[in-house]
């Protein structure tokens, strides 16, 4: 009995080695001869193949769970033939979530982004968390804009708009260090501007990264919220900034900033 089990194990193992391409030359020929005459060998090969396929499916699902869509660490599942239904649904969901965070094109390669971040392997749950958090921040900001937005005169608004447009276009004027980074594009400089406007200058180096990367280091949360809000606004078709128009929330933010700067100047003068 024990020897039968051992023989069956040996046959199973041989079949696996054949299926995995580990058998070469005479070993392979011998096994193929066995396949021609021995039903047990055929069954062992079928079982080995089914096992390999099942393992591959399990591992593919595990990878889809471990690596977020867009991660440079994620294997190219597009080319993989075997996808279980669950994995496909999960990937579609992730893609949908990612579309909600649609970003302007940037010339930064994925490799560069990965090099800038140590957080390439974010679990799926963080995407969902970030999306929900962004929506909450949007609601808060919308509420704030409705009740607490400064009452600016027409001239003040015009000045602010002119200032913002120049800021928007010329990122280097605010942050000279950022302009030295040859990898940054105009779009990513805009991101830096968004940060500066929000008063979070020290985090400007991290804001050029995608959301999943920025979230991990904990320094760019303000930026993430800001950009996520833009994305959410765009994705739900609310009042979005399409090109040259300066969004209202930015006017308010800069007005607040100017008030702060003015107050600081007065303190300096008084000192």
């Amino acid at each position: 009995m024990a020897s039968e089990i051992s023989q069956q194990d040996d046959l199973d193992w041989l079949a696996f080695q054949y299926a995995a391409g580990e058998l070469q030359g005479t070993e392979r020929d011998a096994f193929e001869l066995l396949l021609a005459t021995d039903l047990l060998a055929c069954e062992a090969l079928a079982k080995a193949v089914q096992l390999c396929q099942a393992i591959a499916i399990c591992e593919a699902e595990l990878v889809a769970d471990t690596f977020p869509v867009g991660s440079v660490m994620q294997p190219n599942l597009e080319t993989a033939d075997v996808q279980s239904r669950a994995t496909a649904i999960r990937r579609e969901s992730l893609a949908a979530i990612r579309q909600g965070f649609a970003q302007p094109d940037t010339s930064l390669s994925r490799e560069t982004l990965a090099a800038k971040s140590t957080s390439g392997r974010r679990p799926v749950a963080w995407h969902v968390f970030a999306l929900v958090g962004s929506a909450a921040c949007l609601a808060l900001m919308t509420n704030w804009m409705g009740t607490g937005q400064p009452n600016l005169s027409g001239r003040q608004t015009a000045d602010l708009q002119a200032g913002l447009v120049s800021l928007w276009i010329d990122g280097a004027a605010i942050d000279g260090a950022g302009a030295e980074d040859t990898e940054l594009t105009a779009d990513s400089q805009l991101d830096r501007q968004s940060l500066v406007v929000a008063g979070n200058v020290e985090a400007s180096n991290s804001v050029v990264l995608p959301h999943e990367n920025v979230l991990a280091d904990g320094t760019g949360h303000g930026a993430v919220v800001l950009k996520s809000n833009e994305s959410v606004v765009n994705s739900v078709g609310l009042d979005s900034d399409d090109g040259d128009a300066v969004p209202g929330w930015m006017l308010a933010a800069v007005a607040e900033r100017q008030r702060e700067v003015g107050a600081m100047d007065e303190e300096v003068i008084q000192d």
């Binding site: 193992w13 054949y18 079982k47 080995a48 089914q50 096992l51 099942a54 591959a56 075997v82």
Partner: protein
């Protein structure tokens, strides 16, 4: 149907019973899921034409023998054994699987998943690297710094456990 050929209901029965196993077998021989599907069809076509020559108790063996011969014929013709671009594990999806074949595969996958989860980590990583990452034992040995004999031994132990889980499922 010609005189002596198997009737279609009998062929359908045979298909339901053996198609999944035959497809896996053919995938192992041909290393190509599409070709395996084609040979599977050819095999059952032959079964409908001349399956009556086989006794019912040896029908399974007859099918496997026909399938093997058809596969070797195609392999020689197309020299698919020289094409190693597709691996066994990834060669299935484009084939036209019957619904119950898919269901059985999903069930089998679930059993294997359960067994995978309780494998010791040192075995699990080797299973993953060998089957999913498609690395050779030599590459795995070099990468994780373990002698090749140990790698093969761990893989074999894990394979036995996983195979047993799949076997228990097949028996039920």
């Amino acid at each position: 149907l010609s005189a002596g050929s198997l009737d279609s209901s009998r062929v359908a029965e045979l298909y339901l019973e053996y198609a999944g196993e035959l497809r896996a077998f053919l995938t192992g021989v041909l290393r190509d899921g599409e070709l395996a599907g084609e040979v599977l069809q050819a095999t059952f076509l032959k079964a409908s034409e001349s399956g009556h020559t086989a006794q019912s108790e040896t029908m399974k063996g007859w099918l496997f023998r026909v399938a093997y011969n058809e596969a070797m014929l195609i392999r020689r013709r197309q020299e698919v054994d020289q094409r190693v671009t597709r691996q066994v594990a990834w060669s299935e999806a484009r084939t036209t699987e019957a619904a119950d074949e898919k269901f059985l595969r999903l069930e089998a996958t679930e059993r294997v998943r359960e067994q995978l989860e309780i494998l010791p980590p040192e075995q699990r990583i080797i299973v993953r690297m060998r089957i999913y990452d498609e690395k050779t034992f030599a590459e795995i040995s070099a990468e994780i710094g373990v002698p090749m004999g140990t790698v093969v031994s761990r893989m074999r132990t894990a394979f036995q456990k996983l195979s047993q889980a799949l076997g228990e499922f097949s028996d039920t």
